[in-house]
Assembly symmetry: C2
Homo-oligomer: 347 residues x 2
Amino acid sequence: MTSPVGLHRVMEPAGVLPQAAHRLDSNPQVGADEVRIRVERLNLDAASFRQLFDKHGGDGAAVRTEVLDIIRNRGKMHNPVTGSGGMLIGTVDQVGPASPLSLKPGDRVATLVSLTLTPLFVTDQLAEWDGRSEQVPCSGHAILFARSIAAVLPDDLDPLLSLAVLDVCGAPALTDRVVRRYIADGRSPTVAVIGGAGKSGSLALAAARRAGAARTVGVVPVLAERDRLRAAGLATDVAVADARDPVALSTAVSAALGAAADITVVCVDVPGCEHGAILSTADGGTVIFFSMATSFAAAALGAEGLAADVTMLIGNGYVPGHADYALSLMRREPEVRALFEARLTAD
Amino acid sequence: MTSPVGLHRVMEPAGVLPQAAHRLDSNPQVGADEVRIRVERLNLDAASFRQLFDKHGGDGAAVRTEVLDIIRNRGKMHNPVTGSGGMLIGTVDQVGPASPLSLKPGDRVATLVSLTLTPLFVTDQLAEWDGRSEQVPCSGHAILFARSIAAVLPDDLDPLLSLAVLDVCGAPALTDRVVRRYIADGRSPTVAVIGGAGKSGSLALAAARRAGAARTVGVVPVLAERDRLRAAGLATDVAVADARDPVALSTAVSAALGAAADITVVCVDVPGCEHGAILSTADGGTVIFFSMATSFAAAALGAEGLAADVTMLIGNGYVPGHADYALSLMRREPEVRALFEARLTAD
């Protein structure tokens, strides 16, 4: 009897969910409600890749060896330091008779659940990967549970583009929801997006504008990103600041918006941005943390220590309809699409 | 020139807020807007104390030595493993001429900002403490900044009781706010409090009831706590489950409430409760994480992996009026007061 959340694949410790497990069973034989994917490519979480890349001083071969070790030891690509994973792209290979996912063999899909809970087995030693990019060509198989989520890749978009969009599709969906909540309460909010030129950041900016934000500011770390984001015209204003410097960040946001932001969205994958985000947010405002580098304690104690009356949301990667919403933004917002395509080319 | 958030006390690294600093300057000389407290007692954060106690296998002398080392090295009681601190009680010793805190020398106060950002210097080697309780008798001094918060201890309550209440006063205030938000939206929510017999848990249960929750369940780990909480009559129902076992926890909550909870409040100080809390919460519901043992990544990826459409809040220790609200609960809810007093006696 298989569990819809994959408990039967947990090898140790017993009783936890797959995401909390040290090790999963990546046996290719599918249970009645499981699906097996023939993997083509992994898309590592940005915080995870950055940690590995920095740890090995940019030595791609060492990064590849460590990723292989993690997958071999854990039965999944779950970075033990950052706690994060990523997602994958592949083709449906076999569908158990009781799977509720509406997938069929041959469907080209992206998984929308994290690699941290996806049984994974690699057969090519990641030989096609140089260890220097989040995009990892990969042969092997992965398993989906009954309660997993996968999106069939649309025909009208480059699969790499779709994968990049789907990887962060929770961010625009939740930003949309929070902005609309303010509007339902009778006021159009100002929105600051920290890391506004990145993947989740540019989608969050587009979502905030479509949802009816009064003004938006995208904050970026360097002048080149400022110029790109300004040219894209996605935000009312663009500011340059180091997100790890609380005073510099909050000063930049207030200068751009005329006051602290009603909603601050954190989309940068470096640690230490919690305090700056809190200081950038108005009393009664909301901070949405999407970065996997966020420290729970730093956020909770930071707000308390600053006597900041802000609502702080853990960015949930799942919002109903998030995949379709993010793909529709990509089709309807050519500026966002241009930013994504430029980033994919640069990778 | 002193900074209202204490930047001038940060010794390393430069530019961060005091909570993020490795080391603070605990010099007793007060700046123009600072206040110096003569410390009587520290109240260590539960997660911090438990980590130290477990690390040293319950050896009180070793725990004391490590706490002293932390304070000496960091200029604050900031546990480097859990990232948490606690609070303190003492008497106002000196008030800078520009302090906005409305304190005067001789006021007996509890600090409502975390010890993780409070400059602290100990003069008695914690000689009165056996290292076996969160309550640490202590001689020394601490510094408050302009934007710190301290509550003058009320005359009508035992100071130890007030300290215990003020330590967790963000939990009932935020629970009250979230429950009232549901009611404003037209429905009286069900509320599960994980760790319902503890300090923050019992206050959260009382707050949920007063705010108009339809039903509440307090979840506790052992039969003795079940009996105590049942006798207190604070919750509609009381259930026993291990909060680290997602299936057991969510089954217990659903059995008690008849369905998953609209609001789940996590008040237990052990790691690994994120998945159970998410599984215990209905689609469209809210999880409030108050435990400092919460992992941001486990919560974010857990919800995504379970395709759970839940709003997840980082429990902000500051809500305007939180101290007065928690103390008023203590005066008006004799069952909560009895639970607190029993716990203090047991300590």
